[in-house]
């Protein structure tokens, strides 16, 4: 019986396997797949997701910032520039996504962590690489093939795996909502979106290479990509949560972009011997400066203070924006509430108000600390003022 079962399973699996997975050939300009294909289906769902993103309350509507990111993206997208539409989302995680219809999201957590235009251009080139090579279609085919393999091994495994695959990139919350509403929520949407997110390691490395080449071709420094990934790995090591620290920079903050030493080494190898290029650090910082405060405030909502401190220290390295940065360092300390944190927070607020860009709440927080401080330190505070 068992053998018969495997036989039937195999027959079905072969029937469902794709005819021939397309190799990594660049997509044609102005591509629009036939509506009656799996690819057409992915596009239609991407169009729907884009409609929602377009009017999302999380969208950053600053014309200057949008124009800047679009300009940098076009610098690495080349002929594909008119096909790509960028949506800047105020979400405190390092992430960018690329859908096959040209709809791209760049999250504020990424903008906050890139140090210069060269790094931004590398990461945009990486995403556009997924687009040029049609990785989302490949990912869906690969998923199907993986599942087919699982099916042949065992029926029960395949059933469990199928459920997991459809749900995997969505949070537990999404799954529980799906259960609660008996599947009427956008299962199709989640299923389709999941396939964009689950790019394979090969696809990611491939996209790294494309991001690297397009950024270098545009005149940026060849070491930018590796430097960006290194910063992220360092930040991950500083996490308050052991689980995050232990992960090989996978999941959590960098959900969609598994990082490994291999990928960083591959970028180092590519960069070796290349002529240094431009970083455009000042221009980049000047562009994100008006948003720095709001993005840091969002970052604190993640409640991973170890990472926030690391990030703030890194942003301080150039001696710029010290009023804003010290204020949010103080905020992180105040919210963490470990022994001695309040005293340290006061020092940070005091450091902040020494700079012209200190936000008004820095004085408010100093006043609040003084108000609730034990009596004996009141005199010290008076001396300070």
């Amino acid at each position: 019986m068992r053998r018969a079962l495997a036989g039937v399973a195999l027959a079905c699996a072969i029937g469902a396997a794709p005819a021939a997975p397309a190799g990594a050939e660049p997509r044609a300009l102005g591509l629009r797949p036939d509506v009656a294909t799996a690819e057409g289906g992915l596009w239609a769902e991407s169009d729907k997701a884009e409609q929602a993103a377009r009017r999302s309350g999380e969208r950053n509507s600053s014309p200057e910032l949008n124009a800047y990111v679009t300009r940098v993206a076009c610098g690495v997208a080349g002929d594909y520039c008119p096909e790509i539409r960028i949506y800047l989302m105020e979400r405190p995680f390092f992430n960018a996504t690329m859908a096959p219809n040209g709809y791209m999201e760049v999250w504020s957590g990424l903008m906050l962590r890139a140090e210069n235009e060269a790094q931004l251009s590398f990461v945009l080139g990486h995403e556009i690489g997924h687009f040029k090579e049609n990785h989302s279609i490949e990912a869906q085919r690969a998923l199907k093939n993986r599942m087919t393999g699982a099916m042949v091994v065992g029926l029960a495994v395949a059933v469990a795996g199928a459920a997991a695959a459809v749900n995997s990139p969505s949070a537990d919350a999404a799954r529980s909502i799906m259960d609660a509403t008996r599947g009427i929520v956008d299962i199709v949407y989640l299923g389709a979106i999941s396939s964009f997110f689950a790019f394979s390691r090969e696809n990611e490395t491939d996209a790294d290479g494309m991001g690297f080449r397009s950024a270098v071709a545009a005149g940026y420094d060849p070491n930018a990509g590796a430097a960006l990934w290194r910063n992220l790995v360092e930040e991950q090591k500083k996490s308050d949560f052991e689980k995050v620290r232990r992960e090989e920079a996978r999941g959590g903050l960098f959900n969609t972009h598994p990082l490994s030493e291999d990928r960083i080494r591959a970028l180092d190898t590519l960069a070796r011997g290349g002529a240094p290029g431009r970083l455009d650090r000042e221009a980049y910082r000047a562009t994100i400066r008006p948003h720095l405060g709001a993005w840091l405030r969002d970052d604190l909502r993640r409640r991973d203070f170890g990472q926030s401190f690391h990030l703030i220290e890194r942003l301080m390295a150039q001696g710029e924006d010290l009023g804003t940065l010290n204020f949010y360092k103080g905020e992180a300390l105040r919210m963490r509430r470990k022994d001695g944190d309040l005293a340290a927070a006061r020092l940070a607020y005091e450091a902040a108000i020494a700079h012209a860009d200190a936000p008004a709440p820095a004085w408010r927080e100093l006043g609040d600390i003084a108000r609730w401080a034990p009596r004996r330190s009141a005199r010290r505070l008076r001396d300070l003022s």
């Binding site: 039937v8 799996a38 992915l42 599942m147 059933v159 199928a162 929520v185 299962i187 199709v188 389709a192």
Partner: protein
């Protein structure tokens, strides 16, 4: 014997296609004949459920389902002597009308969660009081002073032949393999007050395939069975 099979088939048909009507109030005044009812373009996403359980969105099916349901809703409104008008939301994503549409989406999701979910909110167990507020009048104004708006939302999958075969094999082996299923949610909103008067969730049976005209007709009939129209 033949009669027995027929009886079982009928039972199955009744059991397979299910409806879950909720009404704001039992003694709801029905819209007078000749009411102008806005048929908001159905939001339909359908996918192929492959043998191994991966879903492939199918835009062509979604379009067919959308057009068939819209056509059947229009026919059904005409049969009740109401004036149906189609409304394409993609023309109105901006401004106040877009906000009303997104508000309906949020309220609709809450209805699904709180009135149909396994753990209904205690305050929503017996009463079905949901409203978009008087801002819904914006939609009425934008659409030629319509009186009511009828929203539909469908999601689902259809099994590939391989998947169906797997389900049979699985059943023989004692493993339940989910096959394709389609669900439709509909709601009727009074555009003067914004109140959601009625909603229904239908799980399609095999003979109400919305990709085909006859199937969509059966599905819409079930969907509107207890609608206060």
């Amino acid at each position: 014997m033949k009669r027995l099979i027929l009886a079982i088939a009928l039972l199955c048909a009744a059991g397979c296609a299910t409806a879950n009507t909720r009404l704001a109030s039992e003694d709801l005044p029905r819209p007078p004949a000749g009411s102008r009812i806005l048929i908001v373009q159905p939001d339909v996403s359908l996918a192929l459920l492959t043998a191994v359980g991966v879903q492939e969105a199918r835009a062509d099916w979604s379009q067919q389902g959308r057009d068939n349901i819209a056509a059947q809703l229009t026919t059904a409104m005409a049969a009740k002597n109401h004036a149906a008008e189609a409304f394409n939301p993609t023309d109105a994503v901006d401004g106040r009308v877009g906000q009303v549409l997104r508000l309906h989406k949020a309220v609709g999701e809450s209805i699904l969660f709180a009135s149909y979910g396994p753990i209904p909110l205690p305050t929503k167990k017996k009463n079905f009081q949901w409203t978009l507020g008087e801002g819904a009048q914006e939609l009425s104004r934008a659409a030629g002073d319509a009186n009511y708006a009828l929203f539909t939302f469908a999601r689902g999958t259809y099994s590939s032949s391989g998947r169906a075969a797997m389900a049979v094999v699985g059943a023989l082996a004692g493993v339940a393999i989910p096959t394709g299923q389609q669900q439709v949610f509909a709601s009727l909103v009074d555009l003067r007050t914004g109140q959601v008067l009625w909603s229904n969730v239908v799980i399609a049976s095999p003979n109400s395939d919305m990709r085909e005209g006859a199937g969509a007709e059966a599905l819409v009939k079930l969907l509107l069975k207890d609608a206060p129209l």
